[in-house]
């Protein structure tokens, strides 16, 4: 029986009732990765180690964990000891980390098997996975179309059924948006829920790791394992991690869902809008109540984000100087020349743009007008959310203003065009709030995503609402044809 497109829950059953062994499962997963190589989901495979670990699990026979023997793909932003980690950048194309990210270590300690590192937008900067040094990732639903970004490789690997789940990171929508474009489920947890130790930093106050999977339930399984305070990351929450599966089946009668007044949905593609209205009705049928709420500053989210994220990244990426690791230019005159050439050769254009903008926003004379101003507006946006959550439990928006688009069709002339893809997702990163994207149909054969934003630490509520929707619909069961690959 093929493992392709199976969820973690499905695979667990198959492993437990011995209809498949861990070794067979891993073999198949690795073969699927090879078969669909054209998708370009993976940057580095971990074949030898995966087979060894699967064998060991079969020999050991004790499987106390849900994740034991489950193949996972890890976004190439997470350091994995001994396994190349590139952030899809030339500057790290030869980097072998001497340690493993906490989030990944937790998954591996729980018995999961990392079959490879997934392709992404370079240093997580992008919304289409078109900036990778290793080439674009294809959307499994349509060749030559973007999977979304920056966690495009992870989303595509899950959507194509190569792995049941993968890790991603979300700074402005980089888990949710590719999940939407690829027809799968993706969750960005509360900021601080998952440790950032070993997660190569893009924008420190915005980055969060999270799961991409076929179902909300599988996301909960991963979230349970990945979450928790880490002394090595002092920005990780010191709160208790609830069991996110515990109340996932609760009926959602009386769930109050807010619709954001300032997001004028009539500006969207009419079909995308139609899907949104349909899902709203579906939720109403399930017992949810919709209330209009106002978040007066939310339209400022995109400019706010694009002041803060580049500023933080311009500093975070200074360590890529060719001295201790990564690409170093040859034949340089002196130290400064080494820096300039190594970095200019090693970084792609989008990364350079963001570093330059960030440097500018922090520079003397501009700091107050750009960086500080943005952090002030950020507080206003957060306050707006806090206010809204006085009267609602969650907020609902489309994940993305449109569906996946053709390679090269957005942002080539004007980078801001791509930035506006993040319109609905970015604000939750600014406020540190959890948010989930679930598939809710297709427009022109391409998946459309529905987003729910939750209150601080309320991933349980989001997972519950998403799961109930999925129990009563079959959008998440749709599979891409993959005939072109």
């Amino acid at each position: 029986m093929s493992i392709q497109f199976k969820s973690i829950a499905d695979l667990r059953e198959m492993l437990d009732d011995k209809s498949i062994s861990a070794s067979e499962l891993i073999q198949e997963s690795l073969e699927l990765a090879k078969k669909y190589k054209e998708l370009n989901c993976f940057v580095t495979m971990n074949e030898e180690f995966s087979v060894k670990k699967a064998n060991a699990i079969d020999v050991n026979k004790k499987t106390s964990s849900r994740l034991s023997g489950i193949p996972l793909a890890q976004k190439d932003l997470f350091c994995t000891e001994g396994l190349r980690t590139t952030c899809s950048s030339k500057i790290l194309s030869n980097f072998i980390p001497p340690y493993t990210a906490t989030a990944v270590k937790k998954l591996e300690d729980a018995g999961s098997i990392t079959i490879g590192k997934t392709n992404m937008d370079e240093f997580a900067m992008g919304s289409s996975n078109e900036t990778s040094f290793f080439g674009n990732v294809h959307n499994p639903w349509k060749k030559g179309y973007v999977p979304g970004g920056s966690s495009g490789g992870s989303a595509a690997a899950v959507a194509a059924g190569i792995v049941p789940a993968a890790t991603g990171t979300d700074t402005g929508g980089s888990i949710r948006q590719p999940a939407a474009h690829c027809g799968i489920t993706g969750l960005k947890p509360t900021y601080g829920r998952i440790s950032r130790w070993g997660m190569i930093a893009f924008a420190s106050s915005l980055d969060q790791a999270g799961p991409l999977a076929r179902t909300a339930e599988d996301c909960a399984i991963l979230l349970n394992t990945m979450s928790g305070h880490d002394a090595k990351d002092t920005t990780s929450l010191n709160s208790n991690v609830p069991d996110f599966l515990e109340n996932i089946n609760q009926p959602i009668d009386g769930l109050k869902i807010g619709l954001i007044k300032e997001f004028n949905l009539s500006d969207l593609d009419s079909q995308v809008q139609a899907r949104f209205e349909e899902s709203k009705k579906a939720y109403e049928k399930l017992g949810a109540q919709f209330i209009e709420v106002s978040l007066p500053n939310i339209s400022a989210s995109v400019p706010t984000y694009y002041s803060i994220a580049p500023a933080e990244c311009s500093s975070n990426l200074s360590r890529f100087d060719g001295v201790r690791f990564g690409h170093r230019a040859e034949s340089t005159d002196d130290l400064n020349d080494l820096y300039i050439k190594s970095r200019s050769e090693g970084f792609g254009d989008e990364v350079k743009r963001r570093i330059l903008i960030g440097t500018y926003a922090l520079s003397a004379g501009y700091y107050d007008a750009y960086y500080k101003k943005a952090q002030q507006v950020r507080r206003l946006i957060k306050n707006d959310f806090d206010n809204a959550f006085q009267s609602v439990d969650a907020l609902m928006t489309p994940t993305s203003p449109n569906t996946a688009f053709k390679f090269g069709s957005k942002g080539t002339q004007n980078p801001v065009e791509l930035y506006l893809e993040d319109l609905f997702t970015i604000s939750s990163n600014l406020a540190g709030l959890p948010a989930i994207s679930i598939p809710h149909g297709q427009v022109n054969s391409l998946p459309v995503g529905l987003q729910l934003i939750g209150n601080f630490l309320r991933e349980d509520q989001l997972l519950n609402a998403a799961h109930i929707f999925q129990k009563n619909s079959d959008y998440h069961l749709a599979k891409p044809n993959l005939g072109d690959f």
Binding site: Y306, S307, R324, L380
Partner: protein, 93 residues
Amino acid sequence: MDQETVRTICYLARLEIDENKSEKIQKDLETIIDLIGSLQTIDTSDVEPLYSPLEMTALMHEDIEKSDNKKEKFLENAAASNEDYFLVPRVVE
């Protein structure tokens, strides 16, 4: 955004832009700056900046040694190193 400013921020960031790309980059930067400049219209008087979404304070650690040094691996990753040091082109102070 004038040439001088672009040169300065390129130097601060230790980046150089190809001749043939420099005009587009400058234009891109101007577009992005316009985007982020739009925040000027929002009234933020008396608003405290929000540097982190966590309303938390730092947990500090005890002054007890715990090494995770991997000297060989650190030096191995460098483009130029010997058995003890990272090496860079000679710096004259």
